[in-house]
Each structure stands twice: as structure tokens, then as C-alpha cells.
């Protein structure tokens, strides 16, 4: 197998922002009727002018710092001209690193699970275009419709060096990046299409092929696998791979040639005259650093130091929400931390996924109540039910008429003697079932665990 080189350009919507990058339209465009989340600025009406959403700079800076990148003190917006129906001005306002321009930040890195370092060349801010809808398939549609609701949404683009050498590494990169983004509140998993990747793949030192618009880590991996074999086949047949742009067909899981060489991009970059330069001061960096808190690595280290095993630590550290709860429990009652780690990594993780939960309660006293009584909660389903209650913000109070083992043995003996005639000819299993029925009625389902243990003991004794 020859070597492949993979570099990524990851576009991430800054979903934490209230408004678009250059106007005051809402950044919450999903699910709105077409062309209702628009204004003169994001539809590029004649005479309209962009004004920068300062919050976008802060959010982008957070990501840049998490990726160990260096912010430029001054960076610029440029116009990137290309004609496309979803681009209302027929130029995109973006940042550029040539022609005297600087992006927001440069030279960062991200460590993969296998310890390899992927260099990040630059991170910059830009605006998202609108969307085109085709009636049926693109090839046969009689007309196309344009929705500008997404136009002007703030994006950051993260450009890596071609440092990944397998589809798995690229997938791992996207997954790790997703975690880092969620650390700063950008939960791309909750917003469809909010993370889009342009994948650059070259096989055996050949020309690089760019696969545009791949959504999500799993598809990135699949697209690279496909491209790897396509290029390999060409290589083996002696056909030269040409530098080109291809599109990822999510349904058929193949890449398709989309733009021929004759349209090799000529973007005619020029500085955007309507926007002043972006300045990043030391005090802004300080402020943003304070807001970010620690990284996944910091959290993982803390869990390991607490004696939590690697598997649990990995799971909890990957989600800032889980980790925050862990920390609070640790502060509330240090002896509960091991049990908390277990529950967070298993049951609570399960619930978050199942119910698409975005945030966990600030108040952990309900959870502490569950953990403190964990041993007496009769079964796993009840544990999960209580945890769900806590997550939903309901009051959790666990109060069982718990019975001690000694008392219960006497009660069991009494029940056996009262029903002796009925059970004496029954098989062990039937006998057990019959007696459990009576016991549960008397002591309640919540004591099932203890009842089973004690009934077994008694029956074994009198056998």
C-alpha cells in the first residue's frame, strides 16, 4: 500500500452566536420558512454594508486558542469573487493569508489519539452562503430555488497541513476537533450540517484531489477510503490523477468530478473596503482564555489523578458537561467520586444520547441523593429512571421502607410456615416464585434485591 496524504479544511458554524457574521439577523436559521431570516445585508442588496459581529471574533479566538494557534494582532477581511447563485453578492467575505492579508490565527496543532501531531496552518472567519434546492435530483430538476436564510452565518475555517496518512486518522481528527468545539460550547452534533469538511487526498505523491462538502467524521473517513482506492486504481493502471475538485455523494458513498480544470479558481481577492481590520488585543486573549477553562487533556489528567480508570476518564473528559458534574459531586461528597464516574460514563451518557440532552442540571444534590442510596435501589431500570428525573430537574427523594436482613429472615420463616401446605410439593423455582410474590407485596418492589438474597439464604438453609 502506497502512502496517502490527507489535509482537511474544516468549516464550522459558530452556532453559539445569536446573530449572523455581518448583520443582525438571527443565526438560528434552521427550520424557518425560506427567505424569512434575511435583511438587505445578508442578501447583498445594493447599498447595504457589512458590520462585524464582534462576538464572532471572540468565539473564533476561543477555537484558535484551543487548537494552540497564534492569533494575529491585526487581520483583514477580503472579498473572494466567484459567481454562484447561493452567494448573493457573488463574492464571499472571508479572510486571506496572501496579498498582504492575515487570517485570524496561524500555526496551531491538534494531537490525534495515536499521539501523532496534525499541524493547523490557519484559522479564519468567513460568511456562509445561502442554499440551493433542486426539485428532485439536481440533474433533472426543472428549476432551482434559493434560500438565503443561511446566508451570512458566521463560519470558521480550520486548515490543516497534509499531516494525516490514513482515513482513520482523518476521522480521529474530526472527532477530536468536535470535542474541542463542544468544550467551547459549539456542539456541532446538535446542528445538522454545522461542520463541513473539504478533504484533500493525494495518493503515492500524486496530484491532490479535493473532495468538497463532506459532513461529519464518519463520512470523512468513507470519502477518503473511496478516494484512496480510486486513485490507487488509476495509479496501478498508469493513469495520471489530475488535480481536481470532486463532490461527495452521501447516498451512493462515492466522489464525483464536479468542477473541471477549465474553471480552476481565479478568486480575485481584494481587501473588503467596508470593514476595518480585526484587532486582537492581549486583554481580549486574556478574557477569552478565562472563559474557555481547561482542555480535554487537562480534564483527563485530573480524572486519572483521582484514581478513575482510563476508560471512564476518557469518556468523561470528552464531554465538558459530564466533567463539570463530576467535579461538583467531588466537591459535594468526595467519597462519591468513583461511583459518580461510573454513573456519568454509563447511565448518564446513555440518557444524554437517548434524549438529546444539551445541558445537565447545575444542582447536583439530586444526583448525590441517588448515588448515596445507590446500593438500595433495587434494579438498573430504577437507577436510570431516577437519573432521568434529576436531569429533567425534578426533585429526587429516595425513601424506602428498607428492611434489615435479620428481620426479614424471621418474616420469611413466618410466611413459609403460613403457606407450608401450598408450597411443600412445589419445585424449588416455583416455590421461590410463589414466596417472592408474597414478599414483594409486603415489603415493596424497591426491596427486591435484599428479598431475593435473603429468600435464597433461607430456602437453602431449610432444604
Amino acid at each position: 500500500m502506497e502512502e496517502i496524504k490527507v489535509g482537511l479544511e474544516v468549516h464550522v458554524q459558530l452556532v453559539t452566536l445569536k446573530t449572523k457574521l455581518f448583520c443582525s439577523c438571527s443565526s438560528d436559521y434552521r427550520g424557518k420558512p425560506p427567505n424569512t431570516n434575511i435583511c438587505p445585508v445578508c442578501t447583498g442588496l445594493p447599498g447595504s454594508m457589512p458590520t462585524l459581529n464582534k462576538k464572532a471574533v471572540e468565539e473564533a479566538l476561543k477555537v484558535a486558542l484551543m487548537l494552540n494557534a497564534q492569533p494575529y494582532e491585526t487581520s483583514y477581511f477580503f472579498r473572494k469573487t466567484y459567481f454562484y447563485p447561493d452567494l448573493p453578492k457573488n463574492f464571499q467575505i472571508t479572510q486571506y493569508d496572501k496579498a498582504g492579508g492575515y487570517p485570524l490565527a496561524h500555526d496551531g496543532y491538534l494531537k490525534l489519539s495515536n499521539g501523532k501531531t496534525v499541524r493547523i496552518e490557519r484559522i479564519h472567519l468567513e460568511e456562509d452562503p445561502g442554499r440551493i434546492y433542486y426539485e428532485g435530483s439536481r440533474a433533472t430538476a426543472r428549476y432551482s430555488l434559493i434560500d438565503y436564510n443561511r446566508s451570512g452565518i458566521a463560519l470558521i475555517e480550520i486548515v490543516t497541513a497534509p499531516d494525516m496518512s490514513s482515513p482513520e486518522e482523518a476521522r480521529d481528527f474530526v472527532e477530536r476537533l468536535t470535542t474541542i468545539l463542544s468544550d467551547v460550547g459549539i456542539n456541532v452534533k446538535d446542528y445538522e450540517g454545522s461542520l463541513r469538511v473539504d478533504v484533500n487526498v493525494s495518493y503515492a505523491g500524486g496530484e491532490r484531489v479535493e473532495v468538497k462538502n463532506v459532513t461529519g467524521a464518519a463520512s470523512v473517513e468513507k470519502a477518503i477510503i473511496y478516494e484512496m482506492f480510486r486513485q490507487k486504481t488509476m495509479y496501478e493502471k498508469g493513469i495520471k490523477v489530475v488535480r481536481e475538485t470532486r463532490a461527495w455523494d452521501e447516498k451512493r458513498r462515492i466522489t464525483i468530478a464536479s468542477r473541471g480544470k477549465e474553471f480552476e479558481a481565479e478568486y480575485r481577492y481584494m481587501p473588503e473596503p467596508d470593514l476595518p481590520p480585526v484587532t486582537i488585543t492581549e486583554s481580549l486573549i486574556k478574557k477569552v482564555k478565562e472563559e474557555i477553562g481547561g482542555s480535554q487533556e487537562d480534564r483527563y489528567r485530573e480524572l486519572i489523578n483521582d484514581g478513575i480508570n482510563e476508560e471512564l476518564a476518557k469518556k468523561i473528559s470528552s464531554d465538558k458537561n459530564l466533567f463539570n458534574v463530576y467535579e461538583k459531586i467531588k466537591f459535594y461528597e468526595p467519597s462519591l467520586k468513583q461511583l459518580a464516574a461510573n454513573v456519568l460514563a454509563n447511565e448518564i451518557s446513555y440518557l444524554i444520547k437517548r434524549y438529546s440532552i444539551k445541558t445537565l442540571p447545575e444542582d447536583v444534590s439530586g444526583l448525590a441523593e441517588i448515588l448515596q442510596n445507590y446500593r438500595i435501589i433495587p434494579d438498573h431500570e430504577s437507577v436510570v429512571a431516577y437519573l432521568k428525573k434529576w436531569i429533567d430537574g425534578e426533585k429526587v427523594k429516595i425513601s424506602f421502607k428498607t428492611v434489615s436482613a435479620e428481620n426479614i429472615q424471621n418474616d420469611i420463616m413466618q410466611i413459609i410456615s403460613e403457606n407450608y401446605e401450598k408450597i411443600r410439593n412445589l419445585e424449588y423455582n416455583k416455590k421461590f416464585e410463589f414466596l417472592m410474590g408474597i414478599l414483594i407485596k409486603k415489603f415493596g418492589k424497591e426491596n427486591k434485591k435484599v428479598l431475593v438474597e435473603e429468600l435464597t439464604k433461607v430456602l437453602n438453609k431449610i432444604k
Binding site: 438587505p40 442578501t43 447583498g44 442588496l45 445594493p46 447599498g47 447595504s48 454594508m49 457589512p50 458590520t51 462585524l52 472579498r79 469573487t81 459567481f83 447563485p85 448573493p88 453578492k89 457573488n90 463574492f91 496579498a99 498582504g100 434559493i146 481565479e266 480575485r268 481577492y269 481584494m270 473596503p273 467596508d274 470593514l275 476595518p276
Partner: protein, 463 residues
């Protein structure tokens, strides 16, 4: 009632003391405009008076250049491309006027997309000079100048990218004020060359343009390049002005004679007059100006693709065919500048042309700041020639050059500049312009007001 020769100041005063009613004023200008427009072609759109008498402007209707967005009133830029475009919003300058009780009298003719110096490049036909209808008005704010000069409007808004307010003011014998870059918000001004242009005012007197300037100047959150300039009255009685001889020498004999004559009068009235032989970068002003203007224009005008507004393309085989057809609605001058700008921004030429033009602009600004230091204003002719016959400039490119050479300096430096009539040749006037440092708008207005009073070129005007 006849308001011929009335200044805005006089109208407001007479409304104040009850001798005029705002309805009469609006009626007069409307009726006269309807009558004269078929000859002069000053207005593309004329609106029936319907305002209420309120605010500082008492409901008076004002002429607005047709590249300034007016909510619900079509705004064509004198182009087939925007023939039926009705903006859904007001330019900030227009909403400021409305807040002060002003209203829109009509939308004035201009060179298409403000590209031109004669007023002939309009899809609606050339504007004719009220002083002699066989002659050009100068441009690109041709209709605004003609309307004010012919008493078809009390005052008008224009825009000045390279002299577009001052040139027609000079050719029609009125006052044209180009404020500092950013002093009036550009939000809603349909962009030609963002880094050079500003909304300007054309009126019958320096006092008139000052009245309106104070109402619409100021920083606008919708325009990041806007600034607050000091609006306090300046206390100057004997201005010190600097004449750049090489600028005067570029002018025709008639203009030169009248201009030197005006210097003599100013000197006798106590002006301090100094001379500098040459502005060393004179030869680079126009090339720098056109390079920057065309580059910016080519991207600004990318948005006109016939999708969101503009004429419908009846049939097209694909998207590229569609936009080529849509873009054929531009006039020849606009097409030429788009092509020049596209070339200038192309890979490989960007550094050669665009970046050098930006460097030159910087050097020109530095030289200007150096020579003006110690003076209240620079004083030079506005136009080196008198108006020419309609159609003549198209034959003689030297005229087109002369039309721009003296006016672009303040656009390159961001300076305030005001043109006032300083001499008379036959039926025409010679305009002289006072240029100051950026943000010192009130200073040039003061100097111009004193000069206007000394020279008394238009004795028939009623103040």
C-alpha cells in the same frame, strides 16, 4: 409664487415667519420640475408632494441622486440593470433627512452607477445643463446639479467618488460639497468605489449645504467606516490658503484667467495666499484613482446577476449563460470599468497594479498632509475646462482626462472639499474648490463661506 433663486436658508426663514408655507414650496418645485424635466432630464423619478410640515426641514422635499436607496421608491443608478429596483430600506442619509422633517422630491439622473464626469452615461439619456441645454452638466451627480441650478429642487444629495458632486456643481454654477470620507454614512449608497466615495450635497449657497450637512453627518452603526466629525462653527476671519500652481496651469486659458482673478479678489479681502509650484505626485493621481475605483467597482457590481432584482432573462441554457445575459444590461462605460477592475484583480496583476495603487494613495496622502500644514485650505480650480457640448467628450478622450484630474485628490486623501462659483465666462461659471484635512469639514465650509461672500459671483441669488 416664484421661488427662483431662493436658497434653502431663505425658504426656511420665510416658512418660520409665516410668509411661505411648506405646501407652497413643495408645490412650486414639483410643478417647475414637471415643466422643465422634459428639457433638462434632471429627474429619473419625480414624486408628487405629500409631506407634512414638521421638523427642522418643515417637510420640504429634497432631490436625491438615484444611487441613494429610498424605501419604496425605485432607485435605478441610471442603469437598465436596476430599472425597476425598489429598495426595501432607506439609506441612513435619507432616514436622517426624514427624521429632520425632510422628504423625497425625486430621484435624479446621473452617470450610470456614478461612472462618468459628464452626465451623459445614463440609460435614461443625458442630463442637460440649465445654463445652456446643448452642454453637459458634468457628472456623475448631473441631475442633482441641474435640479438645484434650475430651481427644480431647493437642495440635493449627490455622491462624490472622484469629483461627482463638485464637477457638476462647477459646470452649473452652484455649490457642491464633498465631505470627509466617512463623515456621512454610506449605508444605502449603492457602491461604486467604497474606499473613495461619500455622499455629498449640492446647494445654492455654502450656508445651505452646511445646514443639510449638520443634519446627516455622524457615525452610523451600519457603516463601519463612518466617523464623527467636529460640527462646531469655526472661528476664522482671514483664512490662509495655499494654491497649487501646477493644478491651475493644467487649466484652459479662460479658467486660468478667472481663477487668478478670484485669487486677487480674495487677497484684497484679507485672505493669506501662498503658492506651491507642484504637487509632485500629480501624474499618479488619476492612475491610482482609476485602479482602485475599477477594482472595487468590479467586485461591487458582481451582485447584479438578475436573480434577486434586475431585468428578467427570458431564456438561458444554464447558469453561466443566464448571468452573461443578465449582465449585458450594463451600459458600455460600466462594462469597461468592470473589465478593467477584473483584470487588475487577476492573479499576477494584483501586486503590479492594485497594491501599487494603494501605496501611491498613501504617498499622495502624506504629500498632501505635508503641503497643507499651516494652511486652512488648499485652493485650486474644480474643473480645468468649461462645460463642453453634449457628445463631444466621447470624441475627445483628453477632455475626459481633464474632467477628473483636479477633483480626485480629495477622494484619495479622504479630505473635505467644496466647490463654489468663483468666476464667470459667458453663460457658464468657473468653479474653485477649497480642500482641507480629513475631518476638518467645518473649516473648509467656513473658508468657502467667506470666499463666497467676497466674490459674490452669483449676484442674482437670494439669501
Amino acid at each position: 409664487m416664484n421661488l427662483e433663486g431662493y436658497t434653502l436658508q431663505l425658504i426656511l426663514r420665510e416658512i418660520e415667519n409665516g410668509s411661505l408655507s411648506p405646501e407652497d414650496v413643495n408645490e412650486f418645485y414639483y410643478k417647475r420640475s414637471v415643466e422643465l424635466n422634459s428639457v433638462l432630464n434632471a429627474y429619473i423619478t419625480l414624486l408628487e408632494p405629500r409631506s407634512r410640515a414638521e421638523g427642522d426641514l418643515k417637510g420640504i422635499a429634497i432631490a436625491i441622486k438615484d444611487n441613494i436607496s429610498t424605501k419604496g421608491i425605485r432607485t435605478t443608478c441610471a442603469s437598465k440593470m436596476l430599472e425597476n429596483y425598489v429598495p426595501p430600506y432607506d439609506a441612513t442619509a435619507v432616514s436622517s433627512l426624514k427624521k429632520h422633517g425632510g422628504s423625497v422630491l425625486g430621484k435624479t439622473n446621473m452617470d450610470e452607477f456614478a461612472m462618468g464626469s459628464s452626465g451623459e452615461n445614463s440609460a435614461f439619456g443625458p442630463t442637460r445643463n440649465p445654463l445652456n441645454k446643448e452642454y453637459v452638466t458634468g457628472g456623475s451627480s448631473s441631475g442633482s446639479a441641474a435640479a438645484v441650478a434650475a430651481d427644480m429642487a431647493p437642495i440635493a444629495l449627490g455622491s462624490d467618488t472622484g469629483g461627482s458632486v463638485r464637477a457638476p456643481a462647477s459646470f452649473t454654477g452652484i455649490v457642491g460639497f464633498k465631505p470627509s470620507y466617512g463623515a456621512i454614512s454610506r449605508y444605502g449608497l449603492i457602491a461604486y468605489a467604497n474606499s473613495l466615495e461619500v455622499i455629498g450635497i449640492l446647494g445654492k449657497s455654502v450656508e445651505d449645504v452646511k445646514i443639510l450637512f449638520k443634519m446627516i453627518a455622524g457615525k452610523d452603526p451600519m457603516d463601519s467606516t463612518s466617523i464623527n466629525v467636529d460640527l462646531k462653527e469655526k472661528n476664522i476671519s482671514k483664512p490662509n490658503i495655499l494654491v497649487i500652481k501646477s493644478f491651475v496651469e493644467l487649466s484652459s486659458e479662460e479658467v486660468k484667467k478667472e481663477f487668478y482673478n478670484s485669487i486677487g479678489k480674495l487677497e484684497s479681502a484679507g485672505f493669506g495666499i501662498s503658492y506651491v509650484d507642484k504637487f509632485s505626485l500629480t501624474d499618479y493621481m488619476l492612475s491610482s484613482y482609476y485602479t482602485i475605483a475599477c477594482a472595487e467597482a468590479s467586485t461591487n457590481l458582481s451582485r447584479y446577476d438578475g436573480i434577486r432584482y434586475g431585468p428578467k432573462v427570458e431564456s438561458a441554457s444554464n447558469w453561466r449563460d443566464y448571468i452573461s445575459k443578465a449582465r449585458s444590461f450594463f451600459g458600455p462605460e460600466v462594462k469597461a470599468r468592470i473589465m478593467m477592475g477584473t483584470f487588475i484583480l487577476s492573479a499576477g496583476y494584483y501586486e503590479t497594479y492594485y497594491l501599487r495603487a494603494l501605496q501611491l494613495r498613501k504617498m499622495i496622502k502624506q504629500e498632501f498632509e505635508k503641503i497643507i500644514s499651516g494652511y486652512d485650505a488648499v485652493y485650486v480650480p474644480t474643473m480645468p475646462v468649461l462645460p463642453w457640448k453634449i457628445g463631444k467628450a466621447i470624441e475627445d478622450p483628453k477632455i475626459a482626462y481633464a474632467a477628473d484630474v483636479l477633483t480626485v485628490l480629495p477622494n484619495l486623501t479622504g479630505s473635505p472639499a467644496i466647490s463654489i462659483p468663483v468666476g464667470k465666462v459667458r453663460e457658464f461659471f468657473v468653479g474653485g474648490q477649497f480642500i482641507g484635512l480629513r475631518a476638518e469639514d467645518m473649516k473648509v465650509l467656513k473658508v468657502a463661506a467667506i470666499a463666497e461672500n467676497v466674490l459674490q459671483v452669483k449676484k442674482n441669488g437670494r439669501n
